[in-house]
Symmetry: C2
Subunit: 374 residues, 2 copies
């Protein structure tokens, strides 16, 4: 069985908004008469091709069938509602969450099962100036929608990031309702970092996205939010960006800085064991590493220094979940299986230390438990 | 035996320059009459304490003795000459390289050995507007200095980064002379990423530094420089930043981008096997991971998919080298051993899969070979 936890949709209502806009994010028609998606204002190219795979449910199901995916937990794609006024964000969040529940509720049943093939992650009207009750209303709407199991969130919060104390009532409501937060990047880092050479989308996608996710979750941890809301269930996009590789450095920097040295209840590395990670990293060593890092979290409670790579990998795999990032990363030539998907599946198969049980968990079982799909 | 390859010095001549300045980088005297180092103009605090450990050779040797370090390969500290005019950079580079050779040449002998206790990494006058012959003269000066074994370099190159074709003659000269390039961060990323909360230096140091190194070496690789200069020997600070964890994602993004998909001779992951990494990551799993990533490089030539974590770790350890980052990360309270150093030593001891041979290699042997100290 195979469950995809990282798969996006621009629902028709959202695509219409993008078509109506004259600045990014927008969908425009180029000189060849083709629709193109421009996500960021400073994108150097003329945007990316966009079509039915972005909004047509049949295209999603067809992609799933082609790659043997049984169930997808579909989330809205960046930049969500970030660019809207509070009033527009509030009403569009309500409508899109309703649309997504309908999209999932009317999806086909999984063969010989009562499960649907599509479940969803809604969104919140997180924009500067929104009232907290409006955000809480969206949390409540999602919690009541039978096929929505959480929400996808960018890194800006109410405009000041995820370490903003004003978000505490939102975290509390999400925690109380047992909803999953899927944390996903959009902005990268300041594009001056990428220099003047023409490198397509490689640098913002390969580096900027994971840098942004890493920064957001680090600021969240540093704010003590996990100490206040220890039952929050956060899934990090792209295998946690670079947080795993920087986690001991982060712990050391905290230890050596008088301003933050005694702020948190735990060593910074402890908090990585409270997170979930998609398995969208394209290589077996990367997946293996994340599973070790998750596993060692416990040692920062028990004081044990026992580090056994292969055993750690087995245990940590329980917090890793297969994903595709569909409809992004399509093959340069069409019709064959998507290389991006095949690579992630091959990576799961190739992790040294994972047996049949761990591979099946990462492919499906962990997601069914995490999203309470049964 | 223990060799420290990541240890910095602000030589007296350089400290004098910093004291003469009224904007960062500068050394100022605060209201309490203490000298403070302000490295970046937008640092939120009043800079960091600075003293003899930054410039006094006796303090360096004393630190080495305290931690059992036999030999240090000392490098200049950021921001090097980045802030100077071409004329000042050229003359200060010449003088500082002379000073550093003297600093090493007159250092004590290692007990019962003809080796000195200090070797050095010089610097180049890499600033916008400098002439390439001036840079080449500095390469030549370093190559002729008996105790200098390479140079430390920031990420700006001639102002446009390390993917600037204008640097090709510099790479060629460095390669031909067999000098090591120690690539080190200074600028981080745009500080707007860190938000409004007071977190001391944690975010720019723990995240910004590794992000910068990762971006610089990725741009270097993407420019095809390793295809043109395959014998360049580059050592990455802080265990390569986040390049290892992002390397399969990078390879995938390159594969999926028509602008760069066919530019390089090799899969992006191949190039990680051409690099060296300091072991300044503060955790055993991080070191283990880097050694696996180095090792898998070969598989992208042979097409083998055999991944055996513990064997890979042994092989990859040969490109990893102990470091301290002295005089940075001093303990919050003084006199005891530096926690930052102890953690890096404990991490080397705790890597699952490294035996006595690998640990001794990372502690000393790899560095002696890499820097040709014999």
């Amino acid at each position: 069985m195979l469950v995809d936890v990282h798969t996006h949709v621009y629902l028709p209502r959202y695509a219409s908004w993008l078509r109506s806009r004259s600045i990014a994010p927008r969908i425009l028609v180029n000189e060849a008469g083709e629709e193109r998606l421009l996500i960021l204002e400073n994108e150097t190219s003329a945007g990316r091709p966009v079509g039915p795979s972005y909004w047509d449910r049949n295209a999603k199901i067809s992609f799933m069938d082609q790659h043997g995916i049984d169930i997808s937990v579909v989330s809205f794609a960046n930049p969500w509602l970030d660019f809207l006024s509070p009033a527009d964000a509030e009403s569009l969040a309500r409508d899109l969450n309703t649309d997504l529940e309908e999209y999932c509720a009317t999806s086909p049943l999984l063969q010989s099962s009562t499960l649907k093939r599509l479940y969803g992650l809604g969104l919140l009207p997180l924009v500067p100036g929104i009232s907290i009750p409006s955000v809480l209303a969206a949390v409540s709407q999602i919690a009541k929608a039978p096929h929505l199991r959480g929400l996808i969130m960018g890194t800006k919060g109410l405009g000041k990031g995820l370490d903003d104390d004003a978000l505490d009532p939102v975290w509390k409501a999400i925690e109380e309702n047992g909803l999953v937060v899927f944390l996903h990047p959009h902005y990268g880092v300041d594009s001056s970092a990428w220099g003047e050479k023409e490198n397509g989308h490689v640098l913002p996608l390969a580096l900027g996205f994971p840098f942004e996710t890493t920064t957001a979750i680090t600021r969240f941890i540093l704010s003590g939010a996990f100490d206040r809301f220890p039952s929050l269930r956060i899934l990090l996009a792209h295998s946690g960006g670079t947080l795993p590789q920087l986690s001991s450095r982060l712990a050391s920097c905290i230890d050596h800085d008088p301003i933050v040295a005694s702020r948190l209840k735990h060593d910074a590395r402890f908090y990585l064991g409270k997170l979930w990670f998609d398995a969208v990293a394209y290589g077996p060593e990367e997946l293996a590493f994340v599973s070790e890092i998750v596993s060692r979290s416990e040692r920062y409670e028990t004081g044990s220094s026992n580090t056994k790579a292969l055993a750690d990998r087995k245990q940590g795999s329980k917090r890793m979940l297969f994903g595709t990032d569909h409809p992004f990363f399509p093959p340069l030539s069409s019709s064959e299986k998507w290389k991006s998907v095949v690579e992630n599946l091959e990576a799961i198969d190739a992790v040294d230390g994972w047996g049949k049980e761990e591979r099946e968990g990462v492919r499906a079982g962990n997601a069914l438990t995490f999203f309470n799909i049964q």
